[in-house]
Symmetry: D2
C-alpha cells in the first residue's frame, strides 16, 4: 500500500538554538520512499544524517532568533509481510543474536529490572511464543486507561505499571519493559499512523521473535498495516521527534497521513496477523 | 485466651544516644494486661508515656556509651470478638466519623494517591463490604512473594505494587494503600504474634468497616486470634519498635510468645471470621 | 493586627458526592476569631467538626448533582509573639515532648528517611538552633525555583530535592523533610496569606525549637505576620483545603485577605524575628 | 605501560542457563592486547563476539547444571595520551557529531531529564570546558559517601543525587547524568583497575569534549593511567560484567591487576591531566 505523509511544524526561537528532528521516514526493504521533500525556513544552517545501525534519520537545525518552519512530506510504499503467528516462537538467550541483546537491557523509560516478578506473575506461565506478547498487549489494553495529559515526559513503565493511565508512548514503554523482563528483546518505534485521530506522531513497539522483529501496538488505536516508521530505539529517549537545545517553543504542529492505493485501506486486523521485515532490517 | 509475651533486646551504644521503643503491649478493652515487667540496664535515664489517641506506649531511653539491655514481659488476656463478616459493610465518606478520616489519606509508605486506578481496576467492581478487603488480602497473598531481605526500610506500597516481593510490613502497607485508594480507612498495627517462625515483631492492618476497626493479615503467616497489639498508626513510620538517635547498633533480639490457656490454641481461621474491638478503642 | 479573610468556592457535582473542606480558620490563643460566617448552597446536608489535637476544622458537605457554593468569611485578630531568635535552641530527642515525636517521622510528601545524608551534608555542621532552620529556608529559596504548574499533587520532597522547582507546598515539604532528617520536629501549615498575588491558599511550615512551634516560609512570598492559619498537619495530605469524593469539578475559587488595623500592615521581616504561640497551642 | 590482568570467576548452575560475560579487555589504538587467554570449564558450548560500534566483547556461555569456571588473563599495553586540559572546550549541540548524540539522552541509571535544574543550579555558571566536568567530579566526591553495600543494582543517579551514598557505578552514573543535563555527552566505562583494594571490576566515565572522549573518575580511588577498559556503554545496563539467565549463583570472584613496566607505576595525577583516545576510537 502507498501512503502520503506530511508534517508541518513551527517553532518560536528566542535565542540561538539547535533543534534535532526525527521526523523523516525510514527507508528500508519493507518501507520504500518513492518521493520526499523537506523544506526548512528560518535556519542559519542545517544538516541531515542517517545513524548507522538503525537507519534513523536526524535533521539538525541551527537557528537564530525568530521562527523556524519545517515542512516535510513523503510518499512511501509499505510492504509489510503478514505471517501466521502460530509458528513464531520466542528465542532463548542461548540463541539470541548478540546484536539484539541491548534490547533485553533496561532503559530510561523501561525499567524491566524492577518488573521481573510482576511480569513473571502475570505472564510467566504463558506459552513462550508470539501469543505471549499479544497477551502483554491485551493486559495493557485492559488495565491501562488511554488518557491524554495523564502523564509527563518523565513518566516511565514503572510508573505506568501502577498508575494505570497514559498515552501511546507509555503503552509502548510498559509493553517493552514486560517483554524484556521475560527475556524477550523489545524496542520502541515512532511513526506516522494512518487513521489516527487527532493526527499526531505515534509510538508502538517491536518484539524479537523467531528471527525477526514483529510489530505490536497495545493501544489498538490504528491498524498496524498503516504504520509508517520514523525511528527505532531503546525507548522514547532515542527517537523523540524533536529534541530542543535552547529557548525554543513549539507553535504549531500539523500532521496528515493519506492512503494512496485505490480501493485498499489498512484494516484493524485481529491479533492473529504478524508483520515482519526482511533479515537485514531486522537487526 | 491468655498469652505470655517476652522480648529481650540489646544494643551497642558508641556515644550518648536516645532510643525510643514501642514494644510494650497496648492495654484496652479487648486486650488486658494482667502482669507486666520492664527492665532496662545501661540507661542514664528513661521515661515511659502513652500517647493520647491511640494508646501507643513509648519508652524513651537515654544512654551513655556501652550496652543497653531491655527485658520486657507481659501476660495478656485477649478477648477478640468474632463476628460473621456477612453484615459488615463499608462506610461511605458521607458517614465516616471525622476521626477516621486521617486513615483515608496517603502516608509515607502507603501512597494511595498513586494507586487509585490500580485499586479501581482490580477491586472497583467488588461488593463494598468486608469481602472486598478480604479480596485485597487474597490478591496480595497471590501476587506478592514473602521474601526476607527483599526490601528495605525505604520500601513503600508503590514499590511493592510493582516489585511484588516483601515482608510483613510491605504486605500491610500495600493492603492499606489499596484500601485507602478505595475510600476504606485503613491503619497499620504492630504486634507480637503467636506461632510466628522465626519469632519476630509482626505487622498487619485494620480496616474501618461497619462501626469498627477489623483486623486483617495478608501474609497468612499466623492466626489472627494470636496477635497481641503493640502500636497502631498510619504506617510503619508511626510504630517502629525501635527508633534510634545516635550511633546505636542492635546486638541481639529475642522474642517469645506462649499461649497460656490450657487446651486452647489460636487457629488459622478461614476468611469468614472477623475480630472487632469495642467502640471506645475503635477510634 | 486584625484581618478579614474570605473564600468563595464553587463546584460542579455530576453525581451524589461528599466534599470535605478545611477552609475555616483556626481559633486559638494567638489567632482569635472575632466574627465568622459560613454559607453553603446546594448541599443535601453538611456538618462541621473540630479535630481533637490540632484544632483543625472540617466541614463535610454531602451534595446531590448540581452546583455547590461555599462562602466563608471571618474576622481574625492575630497576636503573634515576636522573639529574638538568638536564644532559641534545637531540642535533642532526649528531651523532646513525646507529643511532637510524630513530626520527626517521615510522611507521604516528606520522605526525611531518604534525605538523611543530603541534610547532613548541607546542614549538618551548622549551629543547632533557630538559625539552622533559617539556613534550610535560605537554601531552598536559592536552589529551588518557584514555578506554577511545575509540580503535581503527587510531588514529594524527594522529587523536589532533585528537580528543584515547585510551589509553596513543595517548598514547605522539602523544608519539613530537611528538618526531620536533622531531628528537628516540623509540621505543615495551610493558611490564608495577606498580600499574596494572585490570592490563593498558602502553605508554610513550623519547626519545634525551644519549647514552641516557630513559623517559617521558604518562599519569601508574603510577610509571616500576615499568615492566618487554617490547618496543621504532617504534610499536605492532612490539610488539603478540599478533599473530594465523587465526580466533582471545581468551577471557581475566589479568595481575599484584608488588613483591618488602621495604619498597620504586615511587613516582610528580616530573618531575625520569630513567631511563637503560647504553650497550649504549641503541641 | 604494560599491565597483566586476570579474572577468575565461578558460578553454581542449578539448571540449564546462559551467562553473558563482558570481562575481556577492549582492543583499540590506545590499549593493545599483547597476549590473551580465556579458559571456560563446565560449559555445554560458548561463543565470543565483538559488538560493532563500541568494540565491546561478549562471551556467551550455555551451561548445564553444575559449576562453570571462567579464567581470563591478558597482557595489555596502555598508551593513554596525556594532554593539558586548558584548551579542551565543550562542544555545543550545533556542532556535536551525530554519533555522540545518544550519549546526551537519559538512560536507565542516568535520568538526566530529571536533573536539569539541579545541574544548572550547581554547575550552570561554570566555564564550559574540561574544568566543568572536573567540578562535577569534585562535587560528587565531596557530597557523596563511598559506602559498600549502600546501594542496589536498581539504584540510579536520581536516587544518588539525594541519598548521597554509593559505590563506583553510582558515582559514574551521577556524573554522567549531570554531564548530559548540561548537554555534555557522557558514557559509562567498565574496566580493570590497577591498585584498587579490594580488587574488583571498576566503573568510571568519559565525557565528550573537544573532539574526543576524556576519562574521568569521581571516586578518586585509583590512578586513571592504570584503568584498563573492558566495555563502554550508556550506563551499567550495557556493560554488566555478567548477565545471568537462569538459576545461577556466583561462587567466587578473584581479580588481579599487575603493572609489568619496570620502574614505572600509575600515579594519582592532579586534575590537570587528560587522557584521550585517537579519533577512530573516540566515537
Amino acid at each position: 500500500m502507498k501512503f502520503a505523509v506530511r508534517s508541518h511544524l513551527s517553532y518560536h526561537i528566542a535565542a540561538d538554538s539547535t533543534l534535532i528532528f526525527n521526523i523523516a521516514v525510514c527507508n528500508n526493504s519493507v518501507q520504500k520512499i518513492l518521493q520526499e521533500d523537506l523544506q526548512i525556513e528560518g535556519a542559519a544552517d542545517w544538516d541531515q544524517q542517517t545513524s548507522g545501525e538503525l537507519d534513523n534519520r536526524y535533521v539538525r537545525v541551527n537557528a537564530p532568533p525568530g521562527q523556524v518552519r519545517i515542512r516535510y512530506k513523503a510518499t512511501v510504499e509499505l510492504n509489510a509481510i503478514e505471517q501466521s503467528p502460530q509458528a513464531i516462537a520466542e528465542v532463548p538467550p542461548a540463541q539470541l543474536p548478540l546484536e539484539v541483546l541491548p534490547y533485553l537491557y533496561p532503559s530510561r523509560y523501561c525499567e524491566s529490572d524492577r518488573l521481573l516478578r510482576f511480569a513473571e506473575t502475570e505472564f510467566g506461565e504463558l506459552v513462550p511464543d508470539y501469543s505471549r506478547v499479544t497477551a502483554i498487549c491485551n493486559w495493557i489494553y485492559e488495565n491501562v486507561v488511554y488518557l491524554s495529559g495523564s502523564t509527563s515526559p518523565h513518566t516511565s513503565a514503572f510508573d505506568t505499571a501502577t498508575e494505570r493511565a497514559g498515552v501511546c508512548r507509555d503503552f509502548a514503554h510498559l509493553a517493552i519493559a514486560f517483554c524484556r523482563a521475560l527475556n524477550i528483546p523489545a524496542r520502541f518505534v515512532s511513526g506516522y499512523a494512518y487513521d489516527l485521530h487527532p493526527p499526531d506522531f505515534h509510538a508502538y513497539f517491536e518484539a524479537y521473535l523467531g528471527q525477526a522483529w514483529y510489530l505490536f501496538d497495545a493501544t489498538r488505536l490504528v491498524p498496524r498495516t498503516g504504520l509508517i516508521r520514523i525511528g527505532t530505539g531503546r525507548d522514547a529517549a532515542d527517537v523523540s521527534f524533536a529534541t530542543l537545545f535552547g529557548p525554543v517553543t513549539m507553535e504549531t504542529m500539523d500532521l496528515q497521513v493519506d492512503c494512496l492505493t485505490p480501493g485498499e485501506r489498512p484494516q484493524l486486523s485481529d491479533g492473529a496477523i504478524a508483520f515482519v521485515e526482511s533479515s537485514r532490517d531486522s537487526i
